[in-house]
Symmetry: D2
Subunit: 323 residues, 4 copies
């Protein structure tokens, strides 16, 4: 006996690659297990607007490979109020929808928590490129975003080597340095600046000068936006070592687009299916995550209250290998 009969799915917050794969998994698993499945357009705003529609197997055909989210996303101040939450829960109840899967980041999770208190069974899926959600090793979109950054750095390397110049690349990550760290390690960046580790830009500039003097033909600095603007880092380096002439590149929203990698598609597929099975099993107010390769449920409150740990070992490995 399933604990839910009709479920809905929405995407919320900044979009990320793989959200479509997650939506597809929720819809098809739901149908497979005999549930009715609904899509909500434009996140919580769409919920309050009653922008809800029935989904079948074909609704999610040919989307697994597409970036963005067919359900779209939007900000919604009204849903942050108790009245808005009541209204949302009522709209779902009126339609007989007893389960909801929310794909998004921390802010989106909080909405799911509120709804669960109002009697809707909810599941959160970690959809954000920043990898800043705790109790999951990876968020949906992170692997793709890292790939985009590494691809950009590869291109910069070519032209840097031709001119023996330094490059500063600003990447996403307001609170977490994970994109900077994983992309920096993979790209062989000489310097990785993240909010989690203190640094001295004068030392950075001196080491870059040293590296060129030792025969390196390029020098790449990856900066998480949580640390500061790429332009600012460029200015500080120039001031200390005017000979370096570094250039800034700001990747911006490019990092949130593009076809998801197989890793992200499969992560999203597993999580979407797991969310549906957890709802059927009677769970609610839980965040779904992958830890050590396993699907794990954690209380949303706990996930929201816990800051994700930064992988210091990996950071030190990156330093060791980029000499």
């Amino acid at each position: 006996m399933s604990a839910v009969k009709k479920i809905a799915v929405l995407t919320s917050g900044g979009d990320s690659q793989g959200m479509n794969a997650a939506v597809r998994a929720v819809v098809r698993s739901g149908l497979f297990y005999g549930l009715e499945v609904y899509g909500i357009q434009r996140g919580y705003q769409g919920l309050l607007n009653n922008d809800i529609f029935s989904m079948d197997i074909r609704s999610v055909g040919d989307i697994i490979q597409r970036g963005g989210t067919i359900l779209q996303s939007a900000r919604c101040l009204e849903f942050k109020t108790p009245e808005g939450q009541q209204k949302g829960a009522q709209i779902l109840r009126d339609r007989g929808i007893d389960g909801l899967v929310v794909i998004g980041g921390d802010g989106s999770y909080q909405g799911a928590e509120k709804l669960s208190k109002l009697g809707i069974k909810t599941m959160g899926l970690p959809g954000t490129i920043d990898n800043d959600i705790s109790f999951t090793d990876y968020t949906i979109g992170f692997d793709t975003a890292v790939g985009i950054v590494v691809d950009a750095v590869n291109k910069l390397r070519d032209t840097m080597s031709s001119h023996e110049r330094a490059s500063v690349v600003e990447v996403m990550g307001r609170h977490a340095g994970d994109i900077a760290l994983h992309a920096g390690l993979a790209a062989g960046a000489e310097t990785i600046l993240v909010p989690e580790v203190p640094f001295d830009l004068n030392e950075v500039a001196d080491r870059m000068r040293q590296n060129f003097d030792n025969g390196k033909r390029h020098s790449i600095v990856i900066v998480a936006e949580g640390v500061g603007k790429g332009e600012e880092v460029v200015e500080a380096i120039k001031k200390r070592q005017p000979s370096l002439e570094p250039r800034a590149t700001v990747l911006g929203h490019i990092q949130r687009g593009g076809s998801p990698t197989p890793f992200d598609r499969n992560l999203a597929s597993r999580l979407g299916d797991f969310a549906v099975r957890s709802l059927i099993a009677g769970e609610s107010n839980k965040a779904c995550g992958m830890i050590g390769g396993e699907m794990i449920l954690t209380d949303i409150e706990k996930v929201v209250a816990t800051k994700k740990e930064f992988d210091m070992d990996l950071y030190e490995l990156a330093s060791r290998l980029s000499q």
Copy 2:
């Protein structure tokens, strides 16, 4: 106090993407910890030919992003004999090399095991696209290979949809269906044929016919080479359902080339560094693997004797989602 002073590294067996990142990590970590590091060209054959050279930090510059292996690889029948193994160990001893990192598959691991019995401290790193080595969740190159298959299927999808045709894609994996499974799930393939799961081609053909009749515009079958030739599958399907007109695509060695994904580069970097630190700590005759995100050592004998388990849950998920 380090248990080794001079270490060497070789790549052996079929090459895979990320081998260069692993070589770079072994060299730079070794140097970082004060060891001398040597490269051996063309695998065990190069060892017997004394084709060994000193490596410094610059020897592995600008290789992290390159496919293939700068150390090259080759078959070597002589090294399968006790005399060959004795000779190899002697050559290493004559140069004062007391540690060896071998990057390759099962066959390569067996050579490392023999050398460890002859007094050389050895470490094996899983370098193969097939993901068919036990006691590691992923092998180096697997993620990139899956990406290449999925990219190819994306391209096929376009033309299949235009013509409403079926496509059979033969991928690598003589003993393991992992590439077929992970690529099939990520590509939304309707059918995944692997050596680990029995199937009936008549049923497959009938289901494909059914799917088209239900409005699907394409139908993709992924076949691991361990199951049979793509052409044979095409013939069997045609015989049962002549209207389908499926086409075969054989991806072949393309799957072993190209720039490694960030995932593979970082996996290789972690494993290479871990192998060096394990040698320093006095370990020998061990395979390095990543299990649940952690670096783990396992006796080479045990790794070689154990067949990797197939992920049946993932296989069933793929069926559930590709309706």
Copy 3:
């Protein structure tokens, strides 16, 4: 005063990348110039089935970057008969459609010619990856297909270099060696086998052996399918030079998929727009082409009757540079 009021567009024959960009250009230019525009689904078969629908600006939104063709394609034996052609012309007349743009290859052009004889104003656009249509320097899809082949060869190169092995790549081109030639030149292939130039496989094998002996680390042979199967070439080389151990790769329909390059999108956009303007100007029974950068009209009969010339200069350049 426009010579046409209502136009339709169809895609026919094998699909090619950029067909969607061409459809988009026909639709939007048509609307811009005040025409009504209709789409015909599944080529001439769709015409006979009266599978015709009105298109507006939004009908072609977000398709410029997609491979395949939203109008789909299909074979149609009936339309090769005079009765079929009469029926097709009547269906168009009944709907008041007085102009038709056909995107496809030689076979598709012949249909357009027949319809023009029956009073429908027609334009042909060269949509095929093979670049085998005369009176245009490039066909729509050719640049993308060449890119896919070159990308595949890049991947093969990595693994060939690791193992010092030879590779035989079979590419599309039944009657024309253009894909083989342009991809072979761009990929630095050592040997390019095309239907337009006689060759001796023994000489090819001997030169490959020679190249390896001279220190080359890989040897790539590109074979147009018009010359024979990749497997056959492999067998002939092996027989003459057993030490080479070449491998065959058959790219197949992958060459027809994927997002079109900017070159193909812009070529398609220019041609689609030019076709519409030519219909408005009263032209009919013409093939649109780009020659020396200019848009040119040629009688369809002449295009169909003329074999495209092979660029011998470019072929010789490829030989000169791949030493």
Copy 4:
């Protein structure tokens, strides 16, 4: 009888993709025709430093697919003086080098002109991504740069569609809007701002607002850097239409890196070979270009003195199609 015996090649100014393919063609064609060939490291600065080395067939092996330039590039104020030019010519004469191929932009061409006056036979090849050199339809690197921009816009589209937002993409082109135009047409950008065409940002903002109101889900503005900073355009749009919330992306030097497209490789190969054959035929002080598919020589003075014409027809086509 060849007019030259020993030739040298250098790359100068900003690097571009395909420069390596051009270097390869110069070297291999030179050797094929019996010349001695030398490379000059770091442009005119390297010439003055006598940083000149002999090149053989293997020197340019495996570089056709690489971005950047193996000969590197550098600025050189000294070579802008008559004394510097005299010194450069003397260094070449002392080595018996009687021909020089210069790959770069306008500034690089001027150096070649000066050297030709001092008795060195010179050829200029158009190596710059900006496509701002006259008497050639395309410069080496332009096609690749356009591809990088279009790929970035594709990624932005995904996330823009999810959030119904506008995006401003700043691309290279200080004096020429060609990258913006060709990328904008291929990407289906709604607005293309180039130095060659006047515009009113208020009108742009109003049209964007209109498009969203008409149901478009994204709006992309491509800005050539010659027109102004992306950030400035964003501010102007926000001021007029605060509801749009556009974001700026600055692609920067990424546009100059990455593996060259087949088009650029083949263009570079043809031009490099043509330069060598022209030197052998006794030509000097000429720029090599491709016009209407043909290889054409033009006096360097004329090329430098002529501003490249902007393709207004293509610009208007882009407007017509992006409604």
